[in-house]
Amino acid sequence: MGLQLLGLSEVSGSLIAIDNAQDIANEEVVEILVDGKNKRFGRVVKIEGEKAMIQVFEGTSGLSKNNTKTRFLGHPMEIALSKEILGRTFNGAGRPIDGLGEVYAHHKANINGKPLNPIARKYPRNYINTGISAIDGLNTLIRGQKLPIFSGSGLPHDKLAVQIVSQAQIAEDEGKNFGIVFGAMGVKNDVAAYFRRSFEETGVMEKVCMFINLSNDPIIERTLAPRCALTAAEYLAYELDMHILVILTDMTSYCEALREFSSSNGEIPGRKGYPGYLYSDLASLYERAGIVEGKNGSITQIPILTMPNDDITHPVPDLTGYITEGQIVLDRSLYQNGIYPPIGCLMSLSRLMKDGIGEGYTRSDHSDIANQLFASYAKVMEARSLASVIGEDELSDLDKSYIAFGLTFEKIFVGQGFKAQRSMQETLNLGWALLSTLPLSALDRLDPELIKANYSPSTAQRIIDLAISEGK
């Protein structure tokens, strides 16, 4: 039992100051009793002599200089963990909100975690079969990777996340060892409800652990929610040997909460008012994905962020891209053309893909197909911009065939639809079929041997038609 102090000396934003605090530790958690009944929590962020600055998780409204009793709990912010957290729902600070009572703590862990020793990491190599061609074929998701979805308001990122979860879980089918940790920061009520409903429909609810901070919940809890979620994920992955998929949405709201807190704290702002430590802060979240040598579990992260004004150079997507191992970018113009999932393939990238595909993982010709598809699709863009100036009729025959290729690529290969689940074989075969619609001379990235074995314009249409029919 720690010391209890009466009253406080300053209130500013979400921070309070307490005098005469003795023997307190940096980052220690405090319990604040307001008016003798309403309990709030906070943590020490700065100590100066006997004055402690405390960040209050639930906000400071209703606090006065003399209506509080503050108790220092003597440990940093922790959450209770046990196997029973699966199927439960918590708030951003890790307290249950599903009415099922407290978690019987098998184990308690500091939510800030500890940096993972790079020596102890195992380089991720096994891919996750998401059944989505644009991801599996061109931006393969690797178990232990952190691959964010860069989206914009109004784009179907939530739907895509749900599709990845439900299809990956079917394909994973080691069944029992697959789990999902869902961290929602500042999401709208109906978004949270949509995820919950979708998890129930796909029958994974008992494997999901949810940390929900709604957009009208306190911002400090928003900054804690992803940390709680990742701490839970680390427990499930490294103590219980599970393969955990962590979905964090929406990272932009998280960063805005951080900015709000930082500016109320009087800190010197960096770009667009975000604090100078935004990179380090985001890294402390994203870097918690991975595989540890000697453990059976893994943590794969899919953070979702909405780019304000679809601007990929905005600090949040920009810094995220520097930390994560690639990105899946959703493209508004594809979506407006009725293509789902609207994955902009040229801007998307999976950095770990090169080591997790090919012989022994997917198929030996995978990287060649992917390279050629990328290169050809880049040519499509050139042809289109030329067509927009001189008109499509004036294009050379080669450019015309690129335009046609581009349409099928987007409509069939990328736009497979919400229900379609393609195996890796189907995706790669479809890739060959698409390439076969191009003239032979256009395939400049492929080995002649490979072309001889797979280039077959006569069967291409049949495979494409098949893919169309499955999409429906």
């Binding site: 700065k46 002599g49 790079p118 990491r121 430590y277």
Partner: protein, 582 residues
């Protein structure tokens, strides 16, 4: 007098009242003995930056000075090791404490129990000057470690042990300095990381660092002892470029500093360097590599120290007469660490919140590159290649702009090239190297007399192409006259056939100078010969139909590095193809 913590704010703590601590002194903070450094002394307050997480730290815990600035321990055992930014050995920490790093782990940087076969080369009554070699031992199969007297020491040997097996802390020499003080010399020395190690003389740079990457070696070469910056947005291939250079360049030793970057990348580097075999010695590359891994989630203050730790180690091996290449990935993260700490100190910010001393810190770092005469009269070099991660891929931000002033080689990575999967995505219009003139003589003597003129010709073709591209964008390529169409075709050969290089192809990942030169020569020959046909009113289309351009583009795959004589046949092939058209 005991110093006690008065305030804690993130990684910055202060001590109230008078202290005997020096500026930049290394200190141990709190009961867990966290490593820190004094960064400010005011009338009533001493400010300390802590290199580890301060969670759980309390006020009134003690702060103990070490009486010396933040230093690196240098001696046998550094090679093949992996350290964090403040030289804690990560492998030993993982073995003892498990996968996650605790604060204050007190493991020594070098293995004190390992026995080295030391060959002593001095005798009693020899006079030793600072930096002089007194012994050597085989550190790894690739590296002979020369034990040098600390640069700030000199004197007469009064006692010396015979050659034999010693541990790093065994005293093998007793040295009496000019003041009569006796020093025990073992296999190690300490050096403050923020100070450049002394040298005898700086030499002019006139030898390239051969990297086997065509766009670098031929177009934008870097000299041994030079400094280069690799700026690029995310996904443009900074890390890939750095890895390729680390793997293939002809330096004797690589120091790879992962400064605030991804953990998995360090794991990958470690894995690749242990698997890859050095072609010259048939030993794993790791035996000539030191890794400094301060990933983005490790404490930010240690990130700030990491590049100094790296460059100090690089200088130490340079002093033995080695050519060392230092990769720093990424200096922007280091600059952000500066900014973060500066913000905590409430210093007045300059551009974008970065402190006003950013340029001077950057220049101090890059100026530690150089080709030198060492104190023991050998020649060695440190080449620095720093990645820069500009926010939003915008090169006008302060770190890129200031870096540009202190490096003479600039490899600008271009996102649009990366999107089109053109790797290495080094943009040929915005990149430059100021070393080309200095290196011209080396090229003349070691590659070919017309190497630099061919290079100039290639640059010209690429330049013309980018001007023509502006027109093509407006009216399409069909409208161009035939000589310009030819320029476009040749430029395509240069871009796709020469500049584009496949890091995953066994032959193309590394290309020797001879092949680079011949490839240029072939392209140039094709250009000249085709031009004479164009002058005879033969359209470019007919030349293209012979497929000769595509043949030239595929040279990089068709001619393996072991059969460079095959290259000579291409001249003949060009003659035949063009004769057909004519």
């Amino acid at each position: 007098m005991e110093n006690k913590i008065y305030s804690i704010n993130g990684p910055v703590i202060t001590i109230k009242g008078e202290t005997d601590l020096m500026m930049m002194e290394m200190v141990y903070v709190g009961n867990d003995r966290l490593l820190g450094e004094v960064i400010g002394i005011e009338r009533n307050e001493t400010i300390i930056q802590v290199y580890e997480t301060t969670t759980g730290l309390k006020i009134n815990e003690p702060v103990i000075g070490s009486k010396s600035p933040l230093s690196c321990v240098l001696g046998p055992g550094l090679m093949s090791n992996t350290y964090d930014g403040i030289q804690r050995p990560l492998k030993a920490i993982a073995d003892r404490y498990g996968a996650f790093i605790d604060a204050g782990s007190d493991i020594l940087p070098l293995d004190i129990n390992k026995v080295w076969d030391v060959e002593v080369s001095v005798k009693v009554d020899d006079r030793l000057e600072g930096g002089q070699i007194y012994a050597q031992c085989q550190e790894t199969a690739l590296i002979k470690h020369k034990l040098m007297l600390a640069p700030d020491l000199c004197g007469i040997v009064i006692d010396v042990k015979p050659s034999g097996l010693y541990k790093i802390n065994d005293v093998i020499i007793k040295l009496k300095d000019d003041n009569g003080k006796i020093h025990d010399i073992d296999l190690t020395q300490k050096w403050p990381i923020r100070h450049a190690r002394p040298i005898k003389d700086r030499k002019t740079l006139n030898m390239p660092l051969a990297t086997g990457q065509r766009v670098i070696d031929t177009l934008f070469a870097i000299a041994k002892g030079g400094a280069a910056a690799v700026p690029g947005g995310f996904g443009a291939g900074k890390t890939m470029t750095q890895h390729q250079i680390a793997k293939w360049c002809d330096a004797d030793i690589i120091v790879y500093v992962g400064c605030g970057e991804r953990g998995n990348e360090m794991t990958q580097a470690l894995e690749e360097f242990s698997e890859l075999i050095d072609p010259k010695s048939q030993r794993p590359l790791l035996e000539r590599t030191i890794l400094i891994a301060n990933t983005s989630n490790m404490p930010v203050a240690a990130r700030e120290a990491s590049i100094y730790t790296g460059v100090t180690m690089a200088e130490y091996y340079r002093d033995m007469g080695y050519h060392v290449a230092l990769m720093a990935d990424s200096t922007s993260r280091w600059a952000e660490a500066l900014r973060e700490i500066s913000g905590r100190l409430e210093e007045m910010p300059a551009e974008e919140g970065f402190p006003a001393y950013l340029p001077s810190r950057l220049s101090q770092f890059y100026e530690r590159a150089g080709y030198v005469d060492t104190l023991n009269d050998q020649q060695g070099s440190v080449t620095i290649i720093g990645a820069v991660s500009p926010q939003g891929g915008d090169f006008s931000e302060p770190v890129t702009q200031n870096t540009k002033r202190f490096v003479r080689c600039f490899w600008a990575l271009d996102k649009s090239l990366a999107y089109a999967r053109h790797f290495p995505a080094i943009n040929w219009t915005s990149s430059y190297s100021e070393y080309i003139d200095d290196l011209a003589r080396w090229y003349n003597e070691n590659v070919a007399r017309d190497f630099t003129s061919l290079r100039a010709e290639m640059v010209k073709i690429l330049h013309e192409e980018s001007a023509l591209n502006e027109i093509v964008k407006l009216i399409g390529a069909d409208i161009l006259p035939d000589d310009q169409k030819l320029t476009m075709e040749i430029a395509r050969c240069v871009r796709v056939g020469f500049l584009q290089q496949n890091a995953f192809h066994p032959d193309d990942t590394y290309v020797p100078y001879e092949k680079q030169y011949k490839m240029m020569k072939i392209i140039d020959y094709l250009y000249k010969e085709a031009k004479t046909l164009i002058n005879k009113k033969i359209p470019t289309r007919l030349i293209a139909e012979t497929g000769i351009f595509d043949r030239i583009i595929k040279i990089k795959y068709d001619v393996s590095n072991d059969h460079l004589e095959l290259l000579d046949e291409y001249f003949h092939e060009i003659d035949q193809a063009l004769a057909k058209v004519e």
